[in-house]
Symmetry: C2
Subunit: 124 residues, 2 copies
Amino acid sequence: MTRATLLFAHGARDPRWAEPFAGVAARIRAADPGHRVELAFLELMRPDLREAAAALAGAGATRIDVVPLFLGSGGHVRRDLPALLATLRDAHRDVDFRLHGAVGESDAVIEAMARTALDASRSE
Amino acid sequence: MTRATLLFAHGARDPRWAEPFAGVAARIRAADPGHRVELAFLELMRPDLREAAAALAGAGATRIDVVPLFLGSGGHVRRDLPALLATLRDAHRDVDFRLHGAVGESDAVIEAMARTALDASRSE
């Protein structure tokens, strides 16, 4: 089994918006250089989920972990993403797609946000 | 000077979406019980920024650190929020409002997102 990670974010008109997501991908690559990681967007930015999944499957991934880079789980994570995953599973029947929870719901991210906010409030 | 923190998030139709943000506020309160923290939303959820700022100013805050709970800085953080801040400064001339960057742009949050995504990709 060859694993890969698909980071799924919302997208925005301003290209600077995506900088933290590129940072997440870069850190994963630094921590695990052999691991293939792609970013994909729901709207306004490219590639979309279908394109990124095709790139990973084409490169030999047989398990793709889809991690939503969203702070909370609203309609995009609860409805749009499962529907998109269903079409990916249809298109790549030999790939095991695993859908994970929104990254912002993890204790580590909540803790880091709280620490960042506290630091801001304690600044001069 | 009495400091307070205003956590500013986007808002969504699904009330479960806000759970991580309530978690951030709870952690700040646990780390610094005397520090006043309020959540506010751009749309779809209450209170809005004006209501939350009025509550903090009414409780005696003379410096309010506004921390955007956004992953990246798109139009909401770069345009909408500064415009909202200008109206708050007009409404509360004795309060020092400090606008901070999107929490998702901090190294700590990017690192926590990368770690969470790696853990997902290494799960069974």
